[in-house]
C-alpha cells in the first residue's frame, strides 16, 4: 500500500513525495574520508525506511520519544524522520550539554530510545544509565571504540537497519501504513529551550508548524531545489531543525554535513553553498580572520585591500541611505569586485551565496556593513523556538543592521503594553511538553504568543527588538533601562566577548565585562605584553585602559543617563557549564546577579577593588574555585554618588 503522494501534511509524507519527484537528485551529503558522499532522495528514503522498521522491531510505538545526540550527520537526520514516520517524536539535545542537563531532558521527555553519534556520547549515556528509567535502547552511528561494549540495550545503526530489512520482508507495507496514520497536528519535534531561568522547557512543534514555517520561509527567501546549505549549527537548535530538516524536505534542496566541527570553515569554502545561515558570532569571527590576514599580508596587498574596502563601505552607506552612488565610486567598486570582493567572498565560501542570514542576537553594524559592502546579501531574521524559528525577515532591498525585518506573510505581530512583542500565526508551537501552566503563560486565549521580547514597529513596518521584556527596568531616577541593549553596544567591540549591565533601581549603569581571549591575546602579543592566563591578561592595566576606551566608544551611541559609568573585567569568561549562560549564549541575568552580588555591591558602594571568588564547573561536573582581587574602573566622569 502506498501513502497518498500528493499529501504533503507531515514530514515523512514529504520524504515519500521527494523520493518520487526528485528520486536521483542529492538529498543530503556528508564529507567523509575527505570526499563528499551523497544520498539521493531515494536512498535517503530507503535509509529512513530501514531504520524506522528496525525501530519498530525494537518496540518503538506511536507517540514514543526518540532522542538524538551528536554533530550533524545524515544518519541522525534520518533517525529523526524514522521516528516521525512511526508517529513518534524526535528530541535533539545539545551534544556539549553537561550530564545533569542531559539527564533532566531525557527524563522529562521520557525518551525510550537514543541515537548517539559515537563513543563519546555513548559514554555519557552509560554514566547516566541508572538515572534514566524510561530508556530502553541506545543506538550508535560510529562504531569506533565501541566493539568492546557489551550491553543488551546497545546496538549499532547498521544492525538496527539490518533488523529493519528483515522486519520489512515479513510485514510489507508497514512503513507506508504507519506514515498514513500520521496527522498534521501530531508533534514532530520537541525542542528544549535553554531558558534563562529554571529548567529547560520542551517546546512541541507539530508537523503543521514545521511545514507551515518552512513553506513561508522557502517562499520568502526564494529557496529552490537547486540550492545547497551547510548543516553545521547544533541539531538541537530550532533553527537547524527548520532550515536543514524541514526546509530541505519542503523545497527539496540538498543539505551538506561538514566532516568535523573543526573543518567547517574549509568545508564551507569547498562547497560554496547558495544559502548561509550563521549567528552573529560566526560573522564576527570571519571578519576578524580577514582583518588578521590583511594585516599579515604584504604592504601592496594590504593597501589594495584597505583602499577597496573603504570604497565599498562608502558605496554601501550611500546605498543604505537611498542615495545614488557617484560614477567614479561605482567604477572603483567594479574594479574591487574583480580584485578584492570576489576573491574574499570566495575565500570565505560565500561566493555562490544568494543570501546569508544572521539571527539569534544582534550583529554589530560595522560587521553587518562590511559583509554587505563586499557583496554578501546579509540579512537579519527573527524567531524563537516557540515560533518554530521564524517571525520576521528582512527583504533583499531593506537589509539593515538595526531591525529584525518585516513580519512574514501569515504571521501577525502586535506590540502589547509594556512593549512586549506578541505573535500569532501558523508557526506558533503547540505548547510546552507536560507543562500546561507554562503554556498558558505564553499563549493567551486569543492565540497570541507572548515572545517575552520588548520591541516596536518602526515607520517602515519593520520589527525592532530591544531586549527581553522582563529585563527592561528603570534607573533610580526613572529612566528606562534595557540591559541587553547596552550590552550589545559594548559587545560590538572585538575585544569584548560578553558584557552584563546592571542598573535596575540603581543610580547609574555599571557593567561586568568578559574579554575575548583570542583578539585580546593577539593585541597583547603585538604589543609585547606577556601574560600567562585569561585571569592574568584580564587584569593588566593596559587591557583595562583599552576596554575603558572601547566602553567610551559604546557610550557615544547611548543616551546620557544610561551610559556605562563603571566596569570591571571578569577573571573568566561567562560559561554555560557554570550556568551563567544558556547553551545559545544568553546571559542568565538573575543567576549572574546573585552569583556576583559582591561585585554589584562594590559598584554602587564606590569601591575601587573587589574580592572575587569564581567557581568553575568542569565538563565532568567537578568544581573548583579561584580567589582574586579585581579592580573596578571608572569611565569618563566619576560616578554620581547618592
Amino acid at each position: 500500500m502506498e501513502a497518498d503522494v500528493a499529501d504533503r501534511t507531515t514530514l515523512p509524507r514529504l520524504l515519500l513525495c521527494n523520493a518520487r519527484e526528485f528520486a536521483d537528485r542529492p538529498a543530503i551529503r556528508e564529507k567523509d574520508r575527505g570526499i563528499w558522499q551523497s544520498w539521493t532522495w531515494r536512498q535517503y528514503h530507503d535509509q529512513v525506511r530501514d531504520f524506522a522498521l528496525g525501530l519498530a522491531a525494537l518496540g518503538f510505538r506511536r507517540g514514543d520519544r526518540l532522542s538524538i545526540i551528536g554533530d550533524n550527520r545524515p544518519r541522525l537526520y534520518a533517525a529523526q524522520l524514522a521516528a516521525q514516520a512511526l508517529g513518534g517524536v524526535s528530541v535533539a539535545v545539545y551534544q556539549d550539554s553537561i550530564a545533569k542537563e542531559l539527564a533532566y531532558v531525557w527524563n522529562h521527555a521520557e525518551v525510550s530510545m537514543i541515537v548517539a553519534e559515537d563513543q563519546e556520547q555513548v559514554d555519557k549515556i552509560l554514566a547516566l544509565r541508572a538515572e534514566l528509567p524510561a530508556l530502553r535502547v541506545v543506538i550508535y552511528d560510529d562504531p569506533r571504540g565501541l566493539t568492546g561494549y557489551r550491553h543488551d540495550w546497545l546496538r549499532s545503526y547498521s544492525e538496527v537497519q539490518e533488523t529493519g530489512r528483515k522486519f520489512g520482508t515479513t510485514s510489507s507495507g508497514y512503513f507506508e501504513a504507519e506514515i498514513d496514520k500520521g496527522k498534521a497536528d501530531d508533534v514532530a519535534v520537541i525542542c528544549y529551550t535553554s531558558g534563562t531561568t529554571g529548567h529547560p522547557k520542551g517546546a512541541m512543534i507539530t508537523h503543521a508548524n514545521a511545514i507551515g514555517v518552512a513553506e513561508i520561509f522557502c517562499r520568502e527567501a526564494h529557496v529552490k531545489p537547486e540550492d545547497t546549505s551547510l548543516a553545521y549549527l547544533p541539531m538541537a537548535w530550532a533553527g537547524d531543525a527548520v532550515y536543514t530538516l524541514f526546509a530541505s524536505l519542503v523545497a527539496g534542496f540538498c543539505a551538506n554535513c561538514p566532516e568535523s566541527p573543526e573543518t567547517v570553515q574549509r568545508d564551507l569554502r569547498e562547497l560554496g553553498p547558495t544559502t548561509v545561515l550563521a549567528p552573529p558570532r560566526i560573522w564576527e569571527n570571519m571578519l576578524t580572520a580577514i582583518q588578521v590576514r590583511a594585516n599579515d599580508a604584504t604592504p601592496l596587498k594590504r593597501h589594495t585591500f584597505n583602499l577597496f574596502r573603504s570604497a565599498a563601505e562608502r558605496a554601501e552607506i550611500l546605498r543604505s541611505e537611498g542615495k545614488a552612488v557617484p560614477p567614479a565610486l561605482r567604477l572603483v567598486t567594479a574594479l574591487g569586485e574583480f580584485f578584492v570582493y570576489g576573491p574574499v567572498r570566495d575565500q570565505l565560501g560565500l561566493r555562490k551565496a544568494k543570501w546569508a542570514l544572521t539571527g539569534g542576537a544582534p550583529l554589530g553594524p560595522d560587521t553587518f556593513r562590511f559583509f554587505r559592502s563586499i557583496g554578501v546579501n546579509l540579512k537579519q531574521v527573527y524567531g524563537s523556538t516557540e515560533t518554530s524559528g521564524l517571525v520576521s525577515l528582512q527583504p533583499d532591498t531593506e537589509a539593515n543592521p538595526t531591525s529584525a525585518g518585516r513580519p512574514v506573510p501569515g504571521m501577525e505581530v502586535k506590540i502589547a503594553d509594556r512593549g512586549e512583542v506578541l505573535v500569532r500565526g501558523c508557526s506558533i508551537f503547540k505548547g510546552y511538553f507536560k507543562n500546561e501552566e507554562a503554556t498558558r503563560e505564553v499563549i493567551d486565549p486569543d492565540g497570541w504568543f507572548h515572545t517575552g521580547d520588548a520591541g516596536f514597529i518602526d515607520p517602515r513596518g519593520h520589527l525592532v527588538i530591544i531586549d527581553r521584556a522582563k529585563d527592561v527596568g528603570a534607573l533610580a531616577d526613572g529612566t528606562p533601562f534595557a540591559p541587553q541593549f547596552i550590552e550589545n553596544k559594548l559587545k560590538f567591540s572585538p575585544y569584548i566577548r560578553e558584557a552584563v549591565a546592571f542598573g535596575n533601581e540603581k543610580p547609574f549603569v555599571a557593567a561586568m565585562i568578559a574579554i575575548d581571549l583570542g583578539t585580546m591575546g593577539n593585541w597583547a602579543e603585538r604589543r609585547g605584553l606577556a601574560y600567562t592566563s585569561y585571569m592574568d591578561l584580564s587584569q593588566k592595566a593596559e587591557v583595562r585602559e583599552l576596554i575603558a576606551g572601547e566602553i567610551r566608544k559604546g557610550n557615544e551611541t547611548l543616551p546620557d543617563a544610561t551610559k556605562v559609568r563603571r566596569f570591571l573585567l571578569l577573571t573568566k569568561d561567562l560559561e554555560a557549564d557554570d550556568a551563567e549562560m544558556t547553551r545559545t549564549r544568553k546571559v542568565r541575568r538573575r543567576f549572574v546577579a546573585e552569583k556576583y552580588a559582591a561585585v554589584l555591591d562594590a559598584f554602587y558602594r564606590g569601591a575601587r577593588e573587589v574580592e572575587l571568588t569564581t567557581t568553575i564547573t568542569y565538563e565532568d561536573g567537578r568544581q573548583a574555585s579561584i580567589q582574586s582581587r579585581v579592580h573596578i574602573e571608572d569611565v569618563e566622569r566619576a560616578p554620581v554618588h547618592v
Binding site: 567523509d32 574520508r33 575527505g34 569506533r144 571504540g145 566493539t147 568492546g148 566532516e259 568535523s260 573543526e262 573543518t263 574549509r266
Partner: protein, 264 residues
C-alpha cells in the same frame, strides 16, 4: 601456541655501559604490555632491539616463531612492527597527509618505473593507500589537519600524527616510546583512548613505554619493570604495584639513594 614476540636473554652494551642485561619477555597476541622503569633503565634500548635499530650482543628475538635478532629495521617494519619515537620523528615541512602516506611506503609495491608512468598499477595502488590513510585520519580525528605542515602543529597533535604514521604501516605490533611525554592532561586522555581503540578495533599488540603511572596502570594488560638494565618484575598492574622490588626501584632504598626515577 607460541607468543607473538619472544625476547630471550637479550643483552646490549654500549662501550663499558651495560644497557640491557639478559632480559627475557614474552609478548602475547593482542595485549597491551607496558615497560616501565626509572630513567636509564634500558627501556628504549629494548625497544630499539625489537625494531632492529640495534642488534643484541647476545640472546635472541623471535616474531611469530621466526628469528629477527639480526634483521634490518626496514625488514622488521615489513614484518609488521611499527614504532613511534620519544622525540617526534616526522617530516616537519611535509603535510600530515604526506607523512601518513609515507608511512605506507613499505606496503607499496609498484617500482620506480611504473610510478613514473603512474597510470595503471601505481594509480590503483595510490588510491588504495589513500583510502587506508583516510581511515586513519578519521580514526584519529585529524580531518582538519590533513593539509597542514606537521611542523606547524601543537606538540600533542604531532604525537597523534606520529601514531598515525605508525598505524599507516598496518602493524601487527606497535611499539610506542613515551607517546604521552610532554603532553597535557587532555592530550594524554585522548592518546590513552586512541591506544585502547587501536588495540580493540584492529587487535594490534601494543608495547608501551610510558612514565605516567596512572595511564600505565589503567590501560595495560601486563606491566614489565626494568631497573639498571634488568627485568625486576612482571605481571598485572596490581601485582606490579604491590611488588616491593618495584617500590624500591622507584622510591630508592632506605639510604635515600634515589635515582631520579620519581616521575612516575
Amino acid at each position: 601456541m607460541t607468543s607473538q614476540l619472544e625476547i630471550a636473554e637479550v643483552s646490549k652494551a654500549f662501550g663499558g655501559v651495560q644497557a640491557v642485561t639478559r632480559v627475557s619477555l614474552d609478548v602475547e597476541r593482542g595485549e597491551i604490555l607496558s615497560v616501565i622503569g626509572p630513567n636509564g633503565a634500558g627501556k628504549t634500548t629494548l625497544l630499539n632491539m625489537i625494531s632492529g635499530f640495534y642488534h643484541p650482543d647476545s640472546g635472541r628475538i623471535a616474531l611469530d616463531g621466526a628469528e629477527i635478532t639480526h634483521v634490518k629495521p626496514s625488514q622488521v617494519a615489513a614484518l609488521g612492527v611499527a614504532r613511534t619515537f620519544q622525540n617526534i620523528a616526522l617530516f616537519r615541512g611535509m603535510t600530515v597527509l604526506e607523512n601518513l602516506m609515507l608511512g605506507r611506503h613499505v606496503r607499496m609495491k609498484s617500482g620506480v618505473l611504473s610510478s613514473f608512468v603512474y597510470w595503471g598499477l601505481a594509480q590503483k595502488e595510490e588510491v588504495e593507500h589513500r583510502k587506508r590513510v583516510e581511515d586513519i585520519i578519521d580514526f584519529l580525528r585529524i580531518q582538519d589537519l590533513r593539509r597542514l605542515p606537521t611542523g606547524s602543529l601543537a606538540y600533542g597533535l604531532q604525537k597523534r600524527v606520529e601514531l598515525g604514521r605508525a598505524l599507516a604501516l598496518e602493524p601487527k605490533i606497535l611499539l610506542l616510546d613515551e607517546p604521552m611525554g610532554g603532553c597535557n592532561h587532555e592530550e594524554k586522555e585522548d592518546m590513552a583512548r586512541f591506544i585502547l581503540d587501536v588495540n580493540q578495533e584492529w587487535g594490534t599488540t601494543i608495547i608501551l613505554i610510558e612514565h605516567d603511572m596512572g595511564v600505565v596502570m589503567d590501560i595495560s594488560d601486563r606491566v614489565a619493570v626494568l631497573d639498571m638494565g634488568q627485568k625486576i618484575a612482571q605481571g598485572t598492574p596490581d601485582e606490579v604495584r604491590a611488588n616491593p622490588q618495584v617500590i624500591k626501584a622507584y622510591l630508592g632504598d632506605a639510604k635515600g639513594a634515589t635515582n631520579g626515577g620519581r616521575r612516575g
